[in-house]
Each structure stands twice: as structure tokens, then as C-alpha cells.
């Protein structure tokens, strides 16, 4: 069944373990991003003028840093991925089981970012 790619996909984003403090102290966010994005993860160009790829989690991390983050980006993103100590879940599954940053986002996906806790 040939279907046309929709121009945007909707995602549910959740932050927990303290990460929500970086994002307006709000745990739950609904966002919409392009389904095709620049290969270099530039989130400022729309539409992209170079070569593109389907939107994946690598792009999402940049997108969240550039468009949703309120402060202190280094507490979220580092070297093109999430900083150490953040667990990423794709629909309640560790992203390592889904291809990590290369996971291609689908409309309706829920992506959760959790900062691990160390207190006791």
C-alpha cells in the first residue's frame, strides 16, 4: 500500500528524574517535527536544502536542545547525543534495543528521557 509521507509527525515527549527542570519544569510535552530532516541534524532550516533523512532520535535530541530547552544545554546534550546518565526510552523500551540515535521516529511515538537517580 503506497502512502504519501506526511510532512510532520507528532510525538509525545516525557522528561523525568529531574530533567523536567530543564524543560519549563513540565514533564509531558507534545511536539510536531518534520518527517524528513537534514542529514546534519540542523534544526534551523525549514525546509532543508541539503540531503535529508527520515527524522530519527539523533535529530530529536538536537531539536529538543534547540527548541524546547530553557537553559543549560550541557545538562541534556553532549557530543551529539544525550549526556551520560540519561536513559532514552522508545515506547517504554530502552533505546539500545531500538537502534539508539538511528531509530526512525514514527507518528505517535512516545520518547522518554530519564535522568538516573543516585540518592538513597
Amino acid at each position: 500500500m503506497a502512502s504519501q509521507t506526511p510532512p510532520n509527525i507528532s510525538l509525545k515527549i516525557e522528561f523525568s528524574g529531574g530533567l523536567e527542570l530543564l524543560f519549563s519544569n513540565q514533564r509531558s510535552h507534545k511536539i510536531s517535527i518534520p518527517s524528513e530532516v537534514p542529514k546534519d541534524n540542523n534544526t534551523r532550516l525549514s525546509p532543508p536544502d541539503g540531503s535529508t533523512k527520515p527524522a530519527d532520535i539523533s535529530y530529536l535530541v538536537y531539536y529538543l536542545r534547540d527548541h524546547l530547552l530553557q537553559e543549560r544545554g550541557e545538562l541534556f546534550e553532549e557530543d551529539g547525543t544525550v549526556r551520560p546518565g540519561i536513559l532514552v526510552l522508545v515506547n517504554d523500551t530502552d533505546w539500545e534495543l531500538e537502534g539508539e540515535g538511528d531509530y526512525v521516529l514514527k507518528d505517535g511515538d512516545e520518547i522518554v528521557f530519564i535522568s538516573t537517580l543516585h540518592g538513597g
Binding site: 551520560p84 536513559l87 517504554d92 538513597g120
Partner: protein
């Protein structure tokens, strides 16, 4: 391990224990065999803070034969807001001793080792090797890595809890053939600047209590053979709706320097020669405490 009172050849646990532990022995899948397993078991609880104070009384109450309490801190008045085994009278005394006293009141038959020396990369293996299972109830990153690495070397499950503010997390590491270790899930430690402690960030008492209780549940499930051995992480936020979420975790990482099956022998992690505080980015006053 169980005290020998009234044990005869005809009963695998003392006669009076059938009454005392009857409420759990009648549970489907637990039974007499479950009780015998608990009585024979030894559990190391590292940390007698908020998590330890919540898991320890349920382990002693349930009839675990031997419990090791590891903590080198002293009870302070600021602990009493959440660490329910300690009390106003034991402020100023070692936490391990204070917790032992409370457990003995509950169950005089439990064999309790109170160890108030700090666990280090030098002594971890020898201190923990005589226990069947390890509970990570600590409050700092370096000790979490050290306990995980020790659990892998000693081939014991690690029931790991953590809590801060309104949040809690629970996982069992190194369980079964393919269960991941802490290092499989978090290969790189966070920077010290990105880490907070309960002392700095605060925590609600019954939030850390809930996670400690759930650590006791997981421990009893493992000891009695009721655990499904699937690697998951449970996440709790007391203010969220829904408050709990379960995550499916990856299995063992082949290239994990601690537990991986596919790494060079000379790249394999050597606990004795690892400086955990340095590995985690240097010390901060609070970690050292």
C-alpha cells in the same frame, strides 16, 4: 543459618516458624520451600539510609536467615525525616549498629552482621562474597559502580534502588544468564556536577521508603524463585499521573568491561585497580561522606 531451636529431623524449619511465617507460607508459589530458602539465605544491604531502613525491616520480618548491614555513617538528626530504623536515641551512633538494634527487636533469630567500615575497591569482594544477594541502598555514584562490578565478579544479583526528591528508580542487575549489569545500562558515569544527593536535592520520606520496600519485594522474589528474571526498570514519580512506569531494559552488553563475554582479558575491569571516585570524575564532599 536459622537458629536451631526446636528443629527436629521431621521439620525443615523450627515448628514455631510455621506459625510466625504462616501468612506468607500459604501464598501460591511460596510455601514451605520459600520459607526454607529465606531461612537459609544471606543478604547484604549496603547503606542503612532511606532505602536500607525501608528494606531491612521487611527482610528481617520475613525470616531471612542472615543480614549484613553495611554503613560507615553516623546517625544524624537530619536522617530521621526518612530513615525510620534510626531514632532520637541512636543519633550520634553508627547507622549499622542503630539499624541492627531495630532489627533485633523485630526478629531475635535473624543473624545480623553490622559492618561500619567503608566498602572500597580493596575490600568489596571479601566483604560481600559470603552473601547470596546484594542490595544497593547507597547514595553515591562511585559506590554504585563498585557494587555492580563486585556483584558481577561474585556472580550475585544486585537489587538496586535510588530516590531523590519525588522520584524513585528500581532495577535488578546481573540476574540470571543474560541480565545486564549497571555498567551495561550506564557505561559512562555522569559528571559530578550533574549528580545530586538526597542531602543536596532533598527527598520525601515515603518516596524513598516505597523504593526500599520494593527492593525487599524483589529480594524475596529472587530468593524464593518467584522472579521472572526479565530485565526491567521501574520508575516512580509521586506527583506524576500515572506515578509508575516500567521499562524494558537491554540484556547483557557483549562488550561490557565488567560482565561482557566478548572482551580482551586485559581490557576486563579489575576492581582492585580501579579508582571509582576518579572514574566518576573526582570526589565531592558529599560523596565521600
Amino acid at each position: 543459618m536459622a537458629v536451631e531451636t526446636n528443629t527436629t529431623r521431621s521439620t525443615p524449619i523450627p515448628i514455631e516458624d510455621y506459625k510466625r511465617y504462616g501468612r506468607q507460607m500459604i501464598l501460591d508459589g511460596f510455601g514451605l520451600q520459600g520459607q526454607v530458602s529465606l531461612a537459609k539465605a544471606s543478604v547484604a544491604v549496603v547503606g542503612a539510609g532511606g532505602l536500607g531502613c525501608a528494606s531491612l525491616p521487611y527482610l528481617a520480618s520475613a525470616g531471612v536467615g542472615r543480614i549484613g548491614i553495611f554503613d560507615h555513617d553516623i546517625v544524624e538528626i537530619t536522617n530521621l525525616q526518612r530513615q525510620i530504623l534510626h531514632n532520637e536515641e541512636t543519633v550520634g551512633t553508627p547507622k549499622a549498629q542503630s539499624a541492627k538494634k531495630a532489627l533485633q527487636r523485630i526478629n531475635s533469630k535473624t543473624q545480623i552482621d553490622a559492618i561500619d567500615t567503608a566498602i572500597t575497591s580493596q575490600n568489596a569482594l571479601s566483604l560481600l562474597k559470603n552473601y547470596d544477594i546484594i542490595l544497593d541502598c547507597t547514595d553515591n555514584v562511585p559506590t554504585r559502580y563498585l557494587l555492580s562490578d563486585a556483584a558481577v565478579v561474585l556472580n550475585k544479583p544486585l537489587v538496586s534502588g535510588a530516590a531523590q526528591k519525588f522520584d524513585g528508580q528500581l532495577s535488578v542487575y546481573n540476574l540470571g544468564q543474560n541480565g545486564p549489569c549497571y555498567r551495561c545500562i550506564f557505561p559512562i558515569p555522569p559528571r559530578p556536577a550533574n549528580v545530586g544527593s538526597c542531602e543536596e536535592l532533598g527527598v520525601l520520606g515515603p518516596v524513598v521508603g516505597t523504593i526500599g520496600n520494593l527492593q525487599a519485594v524483589e529480594t524475596i522474589k529472587i530468593l524464593s524463585g518467584l522472579h521472572d528474571q526479565k530485565p526491567t526498570m521501574l520508575i516512580y514519580n509521586a506527583l506524576a499521573c500515572p506515578p509508575f512506569r516500567s521499562i524494558k531494559l537491554r540484556s547483557r552488553r557483549e562488550a561490557c568491561p565488567a560482565c561482557g563475554t566478548n572482551i580482551d582479558p586485559d581490557k576486563r575491569l579489575d576492581i582492585n585497580n580501579t579508582d571509582y571516585v576518579q572514574f566518576c570524575g573526582g570526589s565531592t564532599p558529599d560523596w565521600e561522606k
